[in-house]
Structure formats: C-alpha cells, structure tokens
C-alpha cells in the first residue's frame, strides 16, 4: 500500500531529525565511546526509586487528576519558590505533564492559530520547530552565534518580529550550546516582549544545571509572570528521564486551556512517577547538588581538553554540553562527526542537527565519567593531529 498519500501534509513537511540519522550510523558501529547522549549518566537517586517501588506496592496504580496529584503540585510550587523565587498557586497555576516534551506541545497547541509565527532561537533543542509546524504555526528561526555567547539579543529579536509573531521560545540553559541568559540579558529583551505583546514559552529543563550563579527565570522579572508559560521537569535535575515527568507553571487561563488538550490526549502523567517526584523535591536536594558539582568538574575538564587539542570552545555555563567549533578543520559538522566515528570510534552530534547556525560546531555531552571523557579526549586528540 502506498501509505504516503494518506499522511498529512503537516507531517510530511517535517524533516527527519538530524540526530536520528546519526543515531543509525552510531548504532551500527562497535566499541565506540559515545559523548552523544542528552541525558544524565546518573541513575535516579535511590530515595526517588524507592518511593516509586513503594507506590506500586501500595497499589497506587490509578489515574490522577488531570492536573496531577495535588501533593505534587504543592511540592512543585514549593520548589519554584525556594529555587527561583517564583510564586505559583498549586491549585490553579501548575500542571503536571508527561515530560517537558508534552508541555512544549501543549503550550504551542493551546496558543497558536493557523499562521501564527513562533520565534525559535537556534541552535536549540530539536523539537520546537516541528511542534510549531504540527500546530499549523510557522517557526521563525532566530539565529544566535558564538560572538554573542549564543544568547538572543534585542536586535536579533526585533529583526524577526512581524505582526504575526505571537510567541517566543526561550530555551535557556540551552541544549546544545550550554549557553545561559543572565538577568541583565533577559531584562534587555523583556521590554521588547512586552512592547510587541508576545508570550514566552520558557523551557527551563536544565535550570538546576548552571555553574556560575543560579538560574534566573524570565518569569521572575517584572511584568513577565503573566506572559510566561514556564516549562520544567524532573528529567535532568533529578536524573529521571525515563520516568517522563514534567510540569508547566502559568496563568490560570493558560493552564485551563492546556489542560483541556491534556485531558483528552493523555489524561494524566503516570502516578508512579508523580509520587516518586514528590520525594525527589523534598528529600533529594543533596543529590541534586552533588550531581551539579560532578558535572561542573567534568565541564572544566572537557572544555580545557578541547582547547588544548586546538579547538575553539565557547565556555558553557549551563546544561551538560559543550559546543566547540570545528570550522578550522574545513569540514562540515556531518563530515567531521562521521569521520571521527569511523576513524576514532567516538560519537558526538553534528551541530547542524540543532539548526543551520549549528553548522561548523559539534555537540559534545559531558554526562559521562571523567575516566570516559579522558579516553575520548585522547582519541579526539589523535584525530585532530591528523586533520588540523
């Protein structure tokens, strides 16, 4: 059967993920050291796992309310207050989702009409633009570059705004660049956001992983709470990727709209994960700090390692990626990564998988032990000696 003619135009118009392509290549290789993973190398802290087991033991196997367990929403409200000085009403302004991924989808679907434009900084996480397209919105890319530390500047922003612009996606700390936006930098774009009556979908999934000063949420700036759909989750900070648990904090009206979609499409996030997450918030602060300190050591080690080998490497202040430039090799990102994989058996992700302005860069994850990073660096050095 020719299935193609039945597939919707929107789906057909989405390009396949650049990471997927590389993934297939890597899966067919043996004995590789991979620095290509976008999730923590830590297993979920034991207290959280134990609570998941206990929840099953107690027979907690039902649906929860659409918004999520009330106790979890209270816990999230507490977390946002104590960590980022944000005040959200757990009854009306917080909802629990199946990972931050569902949250992104919900936010876009709740806000966009056909043809609405969404500003998507790039390079950035791979799912924003496809989710916009699926909602019949139009992604408008805002390229960022190394000379501006991969942040959005007021000029970048202004140059892309049209009468159809409705939403700005703000993905900081950023995957793949590791860039963060400081308070002053956020303040510079807030005026424009308000002036042009934009909404912000702020994806703060890496907010606990910043290494020089704490994360500042744009929602904490004057006039911005009401304009921000704040997305966060448990995957990165609590090393809970496989539990699929995220959340949204926003104005009640926005939450209601998103919950409408959520109740018909997924009903609720898994109850086991929800109970486990409550434990995480109240009892695993120490684990979070310890993981952050470990990432920070690796960060310094790997940035320095790449620089010593001879690559220009932007200093990332958040997440667990570095984004070194490979421009001086004269290769494209894809060529570089394929050659590195073939000749030295090290897997890193080509920067253009995260948008055209990622061309000339590679994303290297440091969610790996120092031992593994050291061995990978030795192989990369060997490679660089031949090609630089």
């Amino acid at each position: 059967m020719n299935t193609d003619k039945y597939i919707s135009n929107a789906v057909k118009s989405i390009p396949p993920s650049g990471i997927r392509k590389f993934f297939d290549l890597v899966t067919n290789s043996k004995d590789i050291i991979s620095l290509g993973v976008g999730e923590p190398d830590f297993v979920t802290p034991w207290e959280i796992r134990k609570e998941g087991i206990d929840a099953l033991d107690r027979g907690s196997t039902t649906y929860t309310s659409n918004l999520g367990l009330p106790e979890l929403r209270i816990a999230i409200s507490y977390f946002l207050k104590t960590h980022y000085n944000l005040t959200y009403d757990p009854e009306k302004e917080i909802m629990v989702t199946i990972g931050a991924s569902e949250a992104i989808d919900l936010a876009l679907r709740a806000l966009l009409n056909d043809g609405d434009e969404v500003l998507v900084p790039e390079p950035s996480y791979v799912s924003y633009a496809p989710c916009v397209t699926l909602t019949r919105g139009i992604p408008v890319f805002v390229p960022t570059d190394e000379k501006n530390n991969f942040i959005i500047t007021p000029d970048d922003l202004k140059s892309k705004i049209t009468p159809k612009t409705k939403v700005l996606i703000l993905p900081y700390p950023n995957n793949p660049t590791g860039a963060i936006m400081k308070k002053e930098e956020l303040e510079e774009i807030v005026n424009i956001i308000i002036e042009y009556d934009l909404l912000v979908i702020s994806d703060e999934i890496y907010s606990e992983l910043t290494y020089e000063g704490r994360h500042i949420s744009i929602a904490s700036l004057p006039g911005m709470k009401e304009r921000t759909i704040l997305i966060n989750g448990f995957s990165k900070a609590f090393a809970m990727t496989g539990w699929r648990l995220g959340y949204i904090a926003a104005e009640h009206g926005f939450i209601e709209a998103m919950n409408k979609i959520h109740q018909y499409t997924t009903i609720c996030a898994p109850i086991t994960a929800q109970y486990a997450a409550i434990k995480g918030i109240y009892q695993c602060e120490e684990d979070i700090v310890k993981m952050r300190e470990t990432y920070d050591k690796r960060r310094k080690f790997i940035v320095n390692g790449f620089r010593e080998i001879g690559f220009d490497c932007f200093e990332p202040k958040g997440a667990f990626y570095i984004f070194p430039s490979i421009k001086k090799t004269g290769m494209t990102s894809q060529e570089f990564c394929e050659k590195l994989l073939k000749e030295e058996k090290v897997a890193v992700v080509p920067g253009d998988a995260f948008g055209p302005s990622g061309e000339g860069f590679i994303r290297v994850s440091y969610a790996y032990s120092i031992d593994k990073i050291k061995r990978a660096l030795e192989r990369i050095k060997h490679f660089a000696e031949r090609i630089l």
């Binding site: 993920s17 990471i19 590389f22 993934f23 890597v26 899966t27 590789i32 991979s34 290509g36 993973v37 976008g38 999730e39 190398d41 996480y125 791979v126 799912s127 995957n175 050591k297 690796r298 310094k300 080690f301 320095n304 390692g305 897997a347 992700v349 998988a353 032990s369 120092i370 031992d371 050291k374």
Partner: protein
C-alpha cells in the same frame, strides 16, 4: 570538600590523570596539586597507581581464590603475626582481618586451581596458629573496583539522544 580527598577520588577514577588535568578539574594550581600528591605519597596515603585488568580477555591464565582463614590469636600479638607471615608470599594479593566466623580473608592468585590448592595445603595451612582454611575459587567477575566487567552494564542509555 577537602582538596586532598577530591584529588584522591579523581585518581581512584583514573590514575593516569595528569597534575595539569587535576588542576583544571579542581580549580587548584598545578603546584598545589603536585604538592598535595607528593604529601600523600610521603605519608603513605597514596600507595600505588594501579590498573584493573580483565585477564580473561588475555592469553594469560589467572585464577583467583578467596580463602577464609581461622587463626588462633597469640598473646600480645592478636592476629598480626600470622597475618604478616601470610603477607610474605608473592601469591597472596591481599590479606584483611574480618569480623564474623573467620578471622582473615586472603586473596590468592595462581595459574591453575591446582597451584592454588597446593599453595594452601603446603604453605598456608601449616603456618603455626592457622586453625583452618576454606578456599573459594572465583568463577566469574561481575564488578570490581566499581567497574562492571560485562559491556552494556555500565551505561544503559542509548548511544545518541537529543
């Protein structure tokens, strides 16, 4: 955290890290790292820089046995004298005083099971003060010094994810 402990932790993970690399990771100067390590070596805190080898993947036969030894404690010396005596043999890789039914746990390496059995019968058991020995041969290693022996156990993640 205590900087010396931080350095020791790093060396336990990979003893081939250079002083410069350790300096980068810890934020100390190279000089400080050098001095701290020298100090740890001088004080016999840092005894040796070792490797972990999976001998099964080499041509060399290496058999390991864990031997539980019961010892009659001696007046004024406890278990120390017998323990020191056992330590003298090259085949003996480790000796520890343990709590419980037995007194000493002795790790012995040899080329064959017979070699180890003979070592126990002819060298270890006859030592004055040794009351009994129970030999357990290691059949398969799953994890040692924090390292998994089987591939795929250490990292269960997909190799590339967004």
């Amino acid at each position: 955290m205590d900087k010396a402990i931080e350095i020791l932790d790093l060396l336990c993970e990979n003893s081939r890290l250079t002083e410069k690399q350790i300096a980068t990771i810890t934020g100390l100067s190279e000089e400080e790292v050098k001095n701290t390590i020298k100090n740890l070596e001088d004080k016999k805190v840092l005894l040796k820089y070792t490797t972990l080898v999976n001998w099964e993947k080499t041509d060399r036969e290496v058999i390991t046995a864990l031997i539980d030894v019961r010892v009659a404690p001696q007046q004024g010396h406890g278990f120390n004298r017998v323990a020191h005596r056992i330590c003298q043999y090259e085949e003996v890789k480790s000796v520890s005083l343990i709590s419980g039914t037995y007194d000493l746990s002795v790790e012995v390496e040899g080329k064959t099971m017979k070699e180890i059995a003979l070592f126990v019968a002819e060298r270890l058991a006859p030592i004055e003060g040794v009351l009994s020995t129970t030999t357990h041969f290691v059949l398969k290693r799953y994890k040692k010094d924090g390292v998994f022996y089987e591939e795929g156990q250490n990292d269960k993640r997909l190799v590339v994810t967004p």
